[in-house]
Structure formats: C-alpha cells, structure tokens
C-alpha cells in the first residue's frame, strides 16, 4: 500500500450558481404566493386575464416553491456539503453544469407553460410531458454525478447527511417517473395512464412523498451538515440518526392515502394510510430531536447568531408540522381538515417554517464562506427572522381559524338533522377576514425575504468568490471487503422477513379469497415468531449488529439498494392491488355498483377546459362518506357519496384537494342548474352571487375550442381503456356540433351572440354531465345482450 499527498480543490462555483438561483426563484415563488393569496381575499386581483387567474397561477406558485426554490436550495446545500463530507471534488464539472442549466431551463419552461394553461391537471405534477422528460433526465444527471462522487470518495464511511441525499435521489426518481407516466396526444398534451381511483392513489403516493423526499429528506441531510457546523457541537445521537432515517424513509411511502381519507378509495388503503401516518410521528420527531439537541451546550449562541436562530426555528416548525400531519391523518380529524384552509396552513407551516427558515439559515451561513466576507448586516438578518416568524404565525393562525371554522359551519345540520344548516357562500363570507390576514402574513414573509436578498447581495458585492482546497492523503484502495455480508445479515433478514409476513397478513385480511383466513394466520404467526426471534437474537448478539451497520456505511451500493427496497414496498402493496381490482372492464365490486358514463366529444372538450383553467385547484369532485356532505350534495339513494366507479374513466382524476368553492361531483344531476345559470355564473359569478370570490371567465365566451385535437385525444383515451365508440374526425365534429347547438340555443336569451364553437359551450356541457353514471348491473345486462346477439348465426 502506498500513500501520497494530493490537493483537492472543491467545486464551489456550482454551489454559488445554485445559491443565486435559489435566492432569485425563492423571491419569485413567494411573490406568486402573495399574489394568489390576494386573489383569494380580493377577487379583482385575478386581473380578468386568462394567464393571471388563480387556477393557472396556483400551480405556478406550488411548482416554483417546490422545484425552483427548494430544488435549487437543496442542490446548493448538497453540492457544498457532499464534497466536504466525502473529501473529494464533485466527480464531473460537466455534469454539474448540465444539471444547473438544465434545471433552470425546466423552470423557465414551467413558468411559460403553466400560465398558458398547458397542464396535466395533477397537483405538483402539472408540467407537460416534454418537460417531464427533461426533469427525469436532469434528475438522473444529478444522481449520476452524486453517485460517481460517492464512488470516488476519500472518506470510507458515509455520514448521515449523505444517507438522506441518497434516499432523496432514489425515491424522487421512482415517484416522479411513475406519477408522470403519460400517453402523449400532441407535443403539448398527454393523458396520465392511470384513471380515477388509480390515478388518485398514484398521485398522492407521489404528492405526499414529494413533500417527504423533496421537501423533507434533503433538508434533513442539510440540517445534519449545517447545524453542527454552525453551532460547533457534535450531532446529538448517532443511533437516533440510524433509527429515524430508516423508519422515516420506510414509513413515509405508506402514508400517501391520508390525502384520500373518507373518499371512494377502498377502506383498507385508507386504513393503511392512517396508521402509517401515526407511526410516522416518532421517526419525524427523531429528526427534530437530533437537530434541536445538537444545540445543547450552544443555546447561548442563538442570541447572537442569526444562522442558528433560523435553524432552531426551522427545526421547531418541522416538529410542529410533523405532529400536525399525523393528527390530520386520523380519519375523524381529517373529516374536518380535508378540503379546507387548515391543510393550507399545515403545508405552509412546513414550507415557510421548515424549508424557508432552513434555507435562510443556510444562505446566511454560506454567503460569507462562498464570497469570503462577513455578512453585511446581522441586524437585517435578525429583522428578517422576526418578519418571517410573525408572517408564518399570521399565515398559519388565520388558516387554522378559517379551515376549522368553515368546516364546522359546513358540517352543521338543521335542528331536525335533515339538511345542511348553512349554504356554502355563507361560510365563504365568514372566512374573508382570515383570507386577508393570510395575505398579510405572506406579504410580511416576502418582505423579510427581500431584506435577505439585499443583505446577501451587499455581502457578495463586498467579497469575491473563494476557493477551498484541502490536503488529503490518497491511499491506494485497499481490498474492498465483500459486499454480501454488508446487506445479507441478521438484522436485514429479520426486517425483510417480518415485513414479508406483515404484508401477507395485510393483503390476506382484505382479500375475498377463500384462502384468506389461512394466510392471515400464516402472516400473524410469521410476524410474531420472527419478531420474537429478532429480539432474542439481539439480546445475545446485539454488539455485532452495531458493527454490521458500521460496515454497511462503507458500501454505498449496498446502502443504496437497501434504501431502494425500503421505499419500494409501501407503494407496491397499496397501488398494485387497487389498480388490479378497479379495472372497469371487470365490473367488479370495487366499482360499488356504478360506472361512469363515457363523455361525448363536446363534454370531453369541456373537461379539457376545466383542467386547463385549473378548476380543480378550488373545486373537488368527490362527495365523501360523511353525513353532512351527503346531506349537502344529494341524500337520495341514487345519489349519496361518490362511488369509486363514478370517476373510473377520468384521466386525470379530478377529485381535488381543496374546496374554495363547493363540490361539483353531482353538478349535472343533483345541483340541477340550467345552462343559462352556468353561462351567467362563469361570465361573472357576482351576477348571481354578489359575495362570490370566484374569478370571472369572460374569455371563455370569446375563444373557440379547437375541435381538431379531439380525434387524437379520444383515440388515446380509448387506448387507455375508456370505451369510446369508434368515430372518424368528421363524426366527432358532427356530434360535437349537434350537442353544442342545443346548448347555444338554451342560453340564447342572455347570450344571443355566442356561437356553438365557444369554450363556454363545451364547459357547460361538461358541468352538466358531472354526476351521470350507469348501474353496473345494467351495463352487465346490456353486455350480455350484445354477446348473445353476436352468438346468433
């Protein structure tokens, strides 16, 4: 073995690029947020233009905050800390450049397409398919660059921050690819391959874990580097790192269905979503504890060092949000919180509190090191802190009040218990002051952020880019011990075994098979026996288990494979059975006796407009299995709660996640409003409801819908399993025109000049179609009829 000294220069140029991008996009994301908050409080802020209405800007705000702001912030933090923790320069400057510029290009494309109404109609997954491919490619570039760097490391063992980075790269890739599987119909348009409940489940498996693996795990990794660096104290507990890391990444994946509690999602998946969310509480708090307790012995520094102030508050908000999350996942609590502002408050506690404050702390810590001058103004940083803090409290407090208040008011029944006591608009009127307070809170936060930009800018102007080099002893690689013992050993085998038998039990207890009972018993006995065996074995040989983990940390490949295994299981157990069972062709029990009617060409066109305008950002299409909800939206036996089969042909599903306006699942049946009502309401909602906060959509009365796209779209949907009849482009157009003329005729009294080609006609057709379904027994009969006819000679 020979050793020689080498000098390593870290690539901090890439870090500086990402740093500046994060700061700039952060301001854009926050500004967009403040604007849409104002639109909620004061509808004229929608400006009457298609590209500035809430429905189009809300996706812009969420995508900018998640992918542009936190994305660039995460890359800043990772590129800086990874090189130092691995004692090597990033593997490839070229890949770093491709990563940086590719990511910024994606953001610019998103910022152009979203206001234009080009969207996939799924939350945080709105970007159109060509951009999806760019994201996937750039993410792989990032992953390749990172794993290559890990492979070239001079530090034998992987530090906890790197564990979180690895889990992030692997899991985001998996989630992003599966949730963006689409069938393109043109360069700018595609349909998700999943529909209805399948799409809902995949979407929230992704949506929830975008929070977990894009907004949480990378930031935890960043916390594990920057927190001990900033306070100069050792990390509180290594073993807590181990337990909370593995528990967190394994459990998080199962929690997605808590976004779909009390909906048409099969009850057993809801149950899994709820209990795993509760189990998630402790692992999340493990991260908070390791962050906060690292400060032990350095608390006095909080008075003087704004960086630590931001970190301590950020981690505290993380703890608060991860306590509130499990709370909201309890089905009865969720019945109140879901679809209301409470969720919006919860999310912003996490994003403004955890992500935003951690980002600010990291920026303040990094700027002096990247540009070689002390921070221009500690006072300004302190003011920024208090502006952010008060802003968040105003934001979260007003959203709690608004969400819980509105939910209680919506759920109130008349004294006889036969109907909802308050109309929807009365509850909207009541929350208007809270919506304004939220805007103020957001605005304060933005002001603080701008103050930070000035402070950083002044620091950077005074300094100059620094270079950091270290002297390391480069040893020739000693023989790597075999990989297999690193991940094939007692603790891993026990864990895999227990999980296997648990899953056997879970699936057997919800299966209709006659063998279900046998498998339940096998699952239970296996789980119990292996758990006891593992405990007994640990009592005897626990020491070697600890040594095993130290060995695993020297094998990045084995570590990554185990991480992948941990994050694959949850989604597979939930998604595969639901996709298999809810196939509409089978007419099985999962459809709950109802099958959605296939759209006419005009209705499909209307649906495209509904998605384009982002109606799903404010309206749900899902009547939950709750008494007040059923009473409000239709309490007859042919109405009631939304059955799974009623939206099974929807690519993408439009169940929604927020009710700023009322539910629309039965808009075409129970609500029974006329075409003229819808026309007036969409032209200006305040003609019919003076207190409405909905934007006006006058351009729907000017624009024509381009019918030529329908042929490709109908064919694509047929390919995905929606039983559209075979139609030539001419037939499609004829059907479209016939139905459109009827509707144009019906609104002639108020809108004599509206031709059948206008967007508004198609949208009305879609709204009037909502809630129409067939009974599966009737469908079954007519199908049998058909086959009988075919059998005849």
């Amino acid at each position: 073995m020979s050793a020689h000294k080498v000098t390593v220069e870290y690539d901090d140029k890439t870090v500086r690029y990402f740093f500046l991008a994060a700061v700039i996009w952060g301001a854009v994301a926050l500004a967009a947020g403040v604007l849409i908050a104002l639109q909620m409080a004061w509808w004229p802020a929608n400006l009457g233009l298609p590209w500035t209405t809430f429905g189009r800007l809300r996706p812009l705000h969420t995508n900018a905050a998640i992918f542009a702001f936190v994305g660039n912030m995460m890359f800043t933090g990772i590129y800086y800390s990874m090189q130092r923790l691995l004692k090597t320069r990033t593997a490839s400057d070229f890949l770093s450049k491709v990563h940086f510029w590719g990511w910024q290009l994606i953001i610019v494309c998103a910022a152009i397409t979203l206001p234009l109404g080009l969207t996939r109609g799924k939350e945080y997954a709105e970007l159109i398919w060509p951009i999806n491919i760019m994201v996937a490619v750039i993410w792989i570039v990032f992953g390749a660059n990172m794993f290559w760097t890990i492979a070239r490391r001079r530090e034998k063992s992987l530090y906890v921050a790197i564990w979180f980075y690895i889990a992030t790269v692997i899991t985001v890739a998996m989630l992003y690819v599966v949730n963006h599987l689409s069938l393109p119909t043109s360069l700018l348009h595609s349909y998700p391959i999943f529909s209805g409940v399948q799409d809902a489940l995949v979407q929230w498996w992704y949506g929830h874990n975008a929070v977990a693996f894009f907004l949480t795990t990378p930031i935890l990794g960043i916390m594990y580097y920057y927190m001990p660096k900033a306070c100069g104290r050792p990390v509180y507990s290594y073993r807590l790192s181990i337990i909370h890391f593995w528990a967190l990444i394994f459990v998080y994946i199962w929690a997605g269905p808590h976004h779909l509690l009390n909906t048409a999602l099969p009850a057993w998946v809801q149950g899994l979503g709820m209990i795993f969310s509760l189990v998630l509480w402790a692992p999340s708090w493990g991260g908070m504890l390791n962050g906060l307790l690292t400060l032990r012995g350095a608390w006095d520094k909080l008075r003087t060092d704004p960086v630590l102030k931001f970190f301590a508050a950020g981690v505290t908000f993380y703890g608060m949000a991860t306590f509130e999350g499990p709370l909201l996942s309890i089905r009865s609590v969720n019945a109140i919180g879901h679809y209301t502002d409470w969720i919006i408050g919860h999310v912003h506690g996490g994003t403004l509190g955890w992500n935003g404050l951690m980002a600010a702390g990291m920026f303040y810590w990094l700027a002096p090191r990247l540009w070689g001058k002390p921070l221009r103004s500690v006072n300004a940083a302190n003011i920024h802190f208090w502006l952010s803090f008060v802003g968040i409290l105003l934001y979260v407090g007003s959203m709690w009040a608004s969400g819980i208040g509105q939910a209680l008011s919506l759920n109130e029944l008349t004294p006889d218990g036969n109907a909802a006591a308050n109309s929807f608009i009365e509850t909207v009127k009541a929350i208007k002051p809270m919506l304004f307070t939220r805007f103020l809170g957001g605005a304060l936060y933005l002001v603080g952020f701008i103050l930070m930009i000035w402070n950083l800018w002044a620091t950077i102007r005074a300094g100059a880019p620094t270079t950091t080099t270290i002297e390391v002893v480069d040893e020739d690689k000693p023989q790597t011990p075999s990989r297999f013992p690193a991940f094939l050993n007692a603790p891993v085998l026990y864990t895999v075994g227990v999980l296997f038998f648990c899953i056997v039990w879970i699936l057997a207890s919800v299966s209709n098979s006659s063998l279900g009972g046998v498998f339940v018993i096998i699952g239970l006995i296996g789980t119990g026996a292996l758990t006891l065996g593992a405990i007994a074995h640990f009592e005897v040989a626990g020491k070697t288990w600890a040594e095993w983990y130290d060995k695993l940390l020297e094998h990045s490949l084995a570590f990554s494979l185990l991480s992948l295994l941990a994050v694959v299981i949850g989604g597979a157990v939930q998604i595969i059975p639901v996709v298999a069972q809810s196939d509409p062709k089978s007419l099985g029990p999962y459809l709950e006796g109802r099958l959605q009617k296939v759209y006419t060409p005009l209705e499909l066109a209307g649906r495209e407009i509904y998605v384009r305008e982002g109606c799903y950002t404010c309206h749900s299409q899902m009547i939950r299995t709750l008494v007040p909800e059923v009473l409000r939206y239709g309490a007859k036996s042919d109405q009631g709660y939304s059955r799974l089969g009623e939206s099974i042909y929807d690519h993408p599903f439009q169940w929604g996640s927020k009710r700023t306006g009322p539910d629309l699942a039965r808009e075409g049946t129970v609500a029974g409003r006329g075409n003229d009502w819808h026309a007036q309401h969409l032209f200006d909602p305040r003609l019919l409801e003076p207190e409405s906060i909905m934007p006006a959509y006058p351009w729907l009365f000017k624009q024509n819908f381009d019918k030529s796209v329908l042929y490709a779209r109908i064919n694509a949907l047929r390919l995905l399993g929606v039983p559209f009849a075979q139609m030539s482009p001419a037939e499609i157009e004829t059907r479209y025109d016939t139905q459109a003329k009827e509707i144009a005729e019906s609104i002639k009294k108020d809108y004599p000049l509206i031709t059948p080609d206008k967007d508004i006609i198609a949208l009305i057709a879609y709204l009037q179609q909502l809630g129409h379904y067939e009974k599966t027994e009737d469908v079954k009969k007519s199908r049998e009829e058909e086959t009988r006819h075919l059998d005849l000679p």
């Binding site: 530090e155 036969n418 109907a419 309490a635």
Partner: protein, 198 residues
C-alpha cells in the same frame, strides 16, 4: 452503537454521552441512547396500528361508514315520503297566512331563490313569481314539487336534497304564496297557463 473499546474516553452509554471517534469535515457524533418517551411514542403508535388494523379489517365488528351512510339515506328518504303525505294545497295555503312561516320563508327565499327570481319575485333568470302566469302549475303543491325536485333542462335547480331540505322549501313556498290571494289563484283558468316550450 460503537463498542467501548473504540471509545476509550467513554465507558458506556449509561454513564454519559459516547463521542464516536470518526469525524466528517470536522463534524462529530455523540451516540446518546434513544429518549424513553420517544421510544414510547414509537412503540405505542406501532401497537395502535396493529390494533386498529385488527379491529377495522379483521374483526368484522365495526359497521363501515359506507353502510352507515346508506342506511341513513334510506331512513331519511322514508321519513320524507312520510311527511310529504301531509303537504297539500290546503296546508300550504294555511302556512302562507302564518307570519312566522312567512318570515322564515322570506329568509330562505332571499338566500337561495332571489338570485334568479328577483327580490320582489319579479323574475330574472327564473320566472316571475308575482304575476298570474304559472308555467309549471299554479297549485301550491305543484310549486312545492317544482322547488323540491327542480325542473329538468331549465335553470330551476332542485332545492330538495342539495341545499335546503323539505322544511325550508315549505317555508319558501309559504312566503311566495303570501304574495298571492288564494281565491284569485284558484280562479286562474287552467287553459290560460302557457305550456312549457322545450
């Protein structure tokens, strides 16, 4: 999880925090044992999870929300059918002369019906309800029926299940009738009622 030999400066976790020997870019790690209260929340959540799953998906004891709601809807439908028997032209006219009913009805009307039928029943999107033209029938029971079930293919929404419930609809109809004279309305010749154009 390091053995004491690797940490000569610290005897055991119980005696104090073990500082692990390894250092990453100057960062060191203690190896504090897991806080008991934290382990307690973790274990209780896992035990609760098993219990919850067993109770809801194994024991067959609880009634599913879906079944409970379907039963509720059926009971409500039955009750409504029962109460509808007592609503006829005579009772509705009586209610329309009862100030309490009319006052309650005014509130319902101003909340729900005004947008289409006008503040003074003069009409708008919906028909005029103050004049003698009754396109869908002038009998109180017909008016009630139309409010409850709506009129298909028109702007008239079904106010029954969706928003109001029977009680409030009865009140609203009483309010409308309070603007009319019973005798006069009975005397409107049937043939003068225009037929509905589709």
């Amino acid at each position: 999880m390091s053995s004491p030999q690797q940490n000569p400066s610290n005897q055991s976790v119980a005696d104090g925090p073990v500082l692990r020997p390894h250092e990453y870019d100057g960062i060191q790690e203690f190896d504090q044992k897991l806080p008991n209260w934290w382990l307690f929340t973790l274990y209780s959540a896992i035990i609760f999870a098993f219990g919850y799953w067993f109770y809801y998906f194994q024991s067959n004891i609880p009634v599913s929300d879906r079944d409970a709601i379907s039963a509720m809807v059926q009971a409500k439908e039955a009750k409504e059918l029962e109460s509808l028997k007592e609503i006829n032209d005579e009772t509705l006219w009586k209610m329309s002369r009862n100030p309490q009913f009319v006052e309650a009805g005014r509130a319902v009307f101003m909340g729900t019906c005004k947008a289409c039928h006008g503040e003074n029943l003069e009409g708008g999107i919906g028909f005029n309800l103050a004049d003698d033209a009754w396109v869908h029938g002038s009998k109180p029971s017909q008016i009630f029926h139309n409010a409850l079930n709506g009129i298909p293919d028109t702007g008239m929404a079904a106010q029954g299940g969706a928003q109001l419930g029977t009680q409030k609809i009865i009140q609203a109809v009483a309010f409308i009738l309070s603007k009319h004279d019973p005798q006069h309305m009975r005397d409107i010749p049937r043939e003068q009622e225009p037929t509905l154009k589709k």
